[in-house]
Symmetry: none
Subunit: 217 residues, 4 copies
Amino acid sequence: MREKKLSRRERLKAGYCREILDAALELFTANGYHNVTMHQIAMKSEFSIGTLYNFFKNKEDLYHSLVLEKCKEYAGMQFRALQKDADVLERIREFLSNGIRFFLDNTSLIRIFIAETRGESFNLRSKLRNDARRVMNELDEKVASVMREGVQKKIFRRLDPVHLTLALQGLSEAFLFHWMDYPEAFPDGLQADMILDIFTRGSTAQTAAAGPAAGRG
Amino acid sequence: MREKKLSRRERLKAGYCREILDAALELFTANGYHNVTMHQIAMKSEFSIGTLYNFFKNKEDLYHSLVLEKCKEYAGMQFRALQKDADVLERIREFLSNGIRFFLDNTSLIRIFIAETRGESFNLRSKLRNDARRVMNELDEKVASVMREGVQKKIFRRLDPVHLTLALQGLSEAFLFHWMDYPEAFPDGLQADMILDIFTRGSTAQTAAAGPAAGRG
Amino acid sequence: MREKKLSRRERLKAGYCREILDAALELFTANGYHNVTMHQIAMKSEFSIGTLYNFFKNKEDLYHSLVLEKCKEYAGMQFRALQKDADVLERIREFLSNGIRFFLDNTSLIRIFIAETRGESFNLRSKLRNDARRVMNELDEKVASVMREGVQKKIFRRLDPVHLTLALQGLSEAFLFHWMDYPEAFPDGLQADMILDIFTRGSTAQTAAAGPAAGRG
Amino acid sequence: MREKKLSRRERLKAGYCREILDAALELFTANGYHNVTMHQIAMKSEFSIGTLYNFFKNKEDLYHSLVLEKCKEYAGMQFRALQKDADVLERIREFLSNGIRFFLDNTSLIRIFIAETRGESFNLRSKLRNDARRVMNELDEKVASVMREGVQKKIFRRLDPVHLTLALQGLSEAFLFHWMDYPEAFPDGLQADMILDIFTRGSTAQTAAAGPAAGRG
DNA sequence: AATGAATGAGCTTTCATTCAT
DNA sequence: CATGAATGAAAGCTCATTCAT
């Protein structure tokens, strides 16, 4: 009974936490870390400021928990995709589709990811960000291992798998941001194949002529 | 003589402005906009706070002037590279080298560029950022026009030049950031060709086999 | 019990507000709006600056609340006097006595009234002052209606009631200020009848009754 | 020659002073002391800030000089009117007309007079204001002496001449302010006789019965 | 455990005044 | 003498955090 009670409490607590984080996410993505006050989060989540501080050490901790959670969500999803029993290109395609869908569902969450991985405050919150960064790094390593597999299977060129990972990420990010800023530039939406196509075949014409190979048809 | 005096004053003023902007740049890149105070900028630049406000309307204006200046510097350099009388790939290669060198010389300035084009404050300062953004957009268009030329000359695949531009940028950014975070990953430094190679030929092995073409040999 | 608790809180809050307003009143009347800082008000009221801003939106709001409160207090008192079931002159006399007593009890509060109705800031805070001004205007109208009644009952001369109101106010103010600046000029204090006497009978000697005097023609 | 030069200089200096004071007057009456900056005065007068400080010790001194000058101008004019070789009522009427005209010509200058004699900062600048106040007090005494003469000549009732002076001022002020705030209330403009009429005969009807004379129409 | 009033350090910004030119 | 850039004290105000209830 004791245990049950605790577990009920814990479930309650987790639920509260959820509501707070959801409210905060909305505010942070809409306005940025510095333009959101604890007061606003308290209002939106319908908890008191004091309660916020019962759940999170301080504003930074709250923000970080948010980022960590989303990173884990994202990374978990992508891990599963990359671990599937499918051929390399298929897994990469799903990886890309997942990424697009994820940021479509959490519009402008990507800005927070970017702020965290590339942004201005990179060196201040570094300690706190480490958890999130570790999660993302692990994902990067997983991607790299898939890339390595692709190289071994001669699907990809004999390049450093880390470079291939970077390339994949860079292309994804660039397309995602452009799509967010100019949605009209992608009348049919952003398709994983747009990115995959460039990733696999590059931009050069002659090669393209030579190789309808990479085509998924 | 009158003129000379005026010009001396103006040179002085410009010099002051320089010192302020340099001090501010260092602080902003190190700590981010919100974590730098006017007091700090005053201290570092060895001017009084009042003087800062004689040169710039407010903190945002100072920051924006900084960003605009660097954007113009960067865009000007790249424009010149892209306008040279050389073949398309050569111009792209210089574009990449320039970018690498620029951010090598202005370490972590890129974080500000990113913060401005992708960062959290994207929707708040948008009005003020417009000048900088316009400069960068013009550069993007220039890049796209070079891409278009490449497509016409059958150097590049028949793809949307804007997509090619995005790809180039995405690849550059990804490599640059990785190099900044893990310099040891590039024992010989970051070379334009690493990026160019992937950009032109993609990752796919078969195509690579087919195409030593793009090789810069 | 719940209710009691709430009410206690509200009473507390109202009490805090009182203390802040009292401290502010003292400072403002002694030094004028622009020569009082929020810091000073915080010190004098023994609250923190933050608390001041919990009660009032900003300095202007605090000041305005103060003015409005005092205006209402004054106007309410005078309204009741003018509505009494007594003859016109009696009501006017009480109106005068009330005014004298009010400004005796709130020494130099009148300076704020003047600053608000006549002062330098007349055109800047006009929007905010409107509440107070409306209250005072309503009182003026009430006075004018009493004047009208006096005219109808042939107690007063057939003059514009608004002019009579102006006259009453002008005389009151002049006497009040002189008394404040030179209390020794009124050894027995300022009596309503001094003002009423001039208001009702003017300055002209009996000879005036014979009055070829005023007639210019 | 030395003398001439000096005198030319002095004339020049006086002229400069004029221009500064004129510019300042306009700004102060329009915005109030605290809402005018030395910078603004410098701009409007087309002198440098440094020059302002050559002519006036500080902002307060500048403001005070302005007030003093206008007080002297006003008092001088009124002195001459009161000293004329005319009967008492005639001199009072001219006094009133002068006052109306003066403040008509210097619209809203009266607000500064009020701020100075009744306003919020009465006790801060008291030292500086003393000159101006002395001038005005002397004028008050002159008015009182005319009142005394009126009493002696049985033109006015046997009342304290100071009270009569107060009454005259209070009536004037009230009418002037009302006229400024509601010009439409005086379709034919503000006439000295409106004030004089009430001043001399008060509001009471019986006297009026004796004298329908005063009616101008 | 939950609350939110109270706190006050610290921010951006203004502007009277000085003084080297 | 005239100038106006430079100054920096001091203002109003915010908001993360605490803690008595």
